[in-house]
């Protein structure tokens, strides 16, 4: 029994991991772009981006998942996500990326705005271009500053993946809960917690390692 359960949970966890990684790959860069939008000197763009961030951060992710998956089909009579599991999975990834990119963007913005003006000016008087100043001087200092809030958000993401079941995308909690109905046992559901704990433990170690790596300088 234990082996069958573990097999099912592992399968579910693999799906969880899949959502987690794809979301990070999309949301980390898109979040930076959103951050630039929310700091833009061009007011209409800035207001538009900040409004989007407000809506996305101000409504539950569960609601967004449902709206993004069912919305196109019900409103435009065109479910462009496609039928079946694949369509649902794509909708989940899009919703997660959008949601997390908005949270990340605020973390980036805080980090970027915390870099002293003198760093930009030093780059300017040394004849550097704006992209050079950002990528060679500012970005690395931003990364160092945002690791603690980022690790918070990323650990939350691991657990939020379980929300994807609301549009019937299979993941580990679903896998565990299935045993209540089929076999009348609850321990597989509880056991899913161990997976989360272990995985988040590993992430915590990883972030600790990165923080330590960047500790060679102050500022």
């Amino acid at each position: 029994m234990f082996e069958t359960v573990m097999q099912a949970l592992l399968e579910g966890f693999f799906q969880t991991l899949h959502i987690f990684i794809l979301t990070l790959l999309g949301a980390l860069p898109i979040g930076l772009i959103i951050a630039f939008g929310s700091m833009s000197k061009f007011k209409p763009l800035r207001y538009l981006v900040r409004t989007i961030v407000w809506v996305v951060r101000g409504t539950p992710l569960m609601l967004q998942l449902i709206a993004i998956y069912y919305g196109p089909g019900l409103i435009f009579d065109n479910n462009f996500w496609g039928q079946g599991n694949e369509g649902r999975f794509i909708a989940v990834i899009v919703a997660f990326i959008l949601n997390y990119a908005c949270y990340f963007s605020e973390i980036y913005r805080g980090g970027i705005e915390s870099i002293p003006k003198g760093q930009y000016e030093a780059g300017q008087v040394l004849g550097m271009t704006k992209p050079q100043i950002f990528f060679k001087i500012v970005l690395m200092q931003v990364v160092k500053r945002i690791i603690p809030p980022m690790s918070n958000e990323i650990i939350t993401l691991v657990k939020d993946t379980s929300l994807s079941r609301v549009i019937a995308v299979y993941e580990i909690i679903w896998a565990g809960q299935a045993y209540i109905k089929s076999d009348g046992i609850i321990w597989p559901l509880f056991f899913t917690g161990v997976f989360y704990l272990v995985f988040n433990g590993l992430l915590t170690l990883l972030f600790g390692f990165i923080e330590k790596k960047l500790n060679y300088y102050r500022g």
Binding site: E121, A122, Q124, V125, L126, G127, K136, G219
Partner: protein, 252 residues
């Protein structure tokens, strides 16, 4: 031919006039000290020269080349300003070194981004400059491991790496403990005579008196008095200058 000619520079921040009709010239190799109380516009003037602020009126020439004319917007294009400001170097009051890079990289970063030579040439030159400010043993150190005085010396080497025509210092010792100002002033003094033209905004009267070729006393956004150190310190013509010097020197 003067290396720097500044004509009729004015600058307002909102309704307050920070600079009013500033004009002066500098010859190659000159060391100009700008003194004056806080809020007199010294730092703003330096920032205008380095294009960190845009003056409202006036012109700036370097080697008789018109760099900035406030009446002519075509001289103020972002892309051109980036190359024009390379005529000037700036050493900041609070150093502004790049904390994530070691000393060597702090000095060599800009030259390599601007492709001013092969990586080897840039490295050799950077090491030479770091030696010149006396920090050869700190090449691999990070700014946070250095004292304020050492950091400022690195900042000087970093500015020299681009070989500016005019090197500007914005109160280079104001953020330092008193026992560290000497080493920085000594480095600046050591640059004199090596063709570097320098503008030093400073509160160090002794330094202005002994090192500068020319002294400007600024008050309320105008050049109140300009002359040789001897003229300014020993025979000031303006009452304001006299009052300022009396106050500055009585602290000693």
């Amino acid at each position: 031919m003067s290396v720097l000619k500044v004509e009729n520079i004015s600058k307002n921040f909102g309704s307050s006039e920070v600079l009013r009709d500033i004009s002066f010239t500098l010859e190659k190799g000159d060391v100009l000290a700008i003194i004056g109380s806080s809020g007199s516009g010294k730092t703003t003037l330096l920032r205008c020269l380095n294009f960190l602020e845009t003056p409202d009126t006036g012109r700036i020439y370097v080697n008789d080349e018109l760099l900035l004319d406030c009446a002519d917007k075509t001289t103020m294009r972002e892309s051109e300003i980036r190359t024009k400001r390379l005529h000037f170097g700036l050493v900041f009051q609070n150093f502004n070194l790049f904390p994530q890079y070691n000393i060597l990289k702090n000095v060599s970063l800009a030259p390599s981004l601007l492709k001013l030579g092969t990586p080897e040439e840039i490295d050799t030159n950077a090491k030479k400059l770091i030696e010149r400010v006396g920090l050869s043993d700190k090449l691999d150190s990070y700014p946070c491991q250095l004292s304020g005085g050492q950091q400022q010396r690195v900042a000087i080497a970093r500015a020299l790496a681009l070989n500016p025509d005019i090197l500007c210092f914005d109160e280079p010792t104001s953020a330092l403990d008193p026992e560290l100002t000497g080493e920085v002033l000594k480095v600046i003094k050591g640059l004199k005579g090596s063709d570097s033209t320098m503008i030093v905004v400073t509160h160090e009267m002794e330094f202005a008196k002994n090192v500068a070729d020319k002294v400007i006393y600024m008050a309320d956004g105008i050049i109140e008095e300009m002359g040789t150190p001897d003229e300014i310190f020993n025979n000031p013509k303006s009452d304001k200058t006299r009052a300022f010097l009396a106050k500055s020197l009585e602290n000693l």
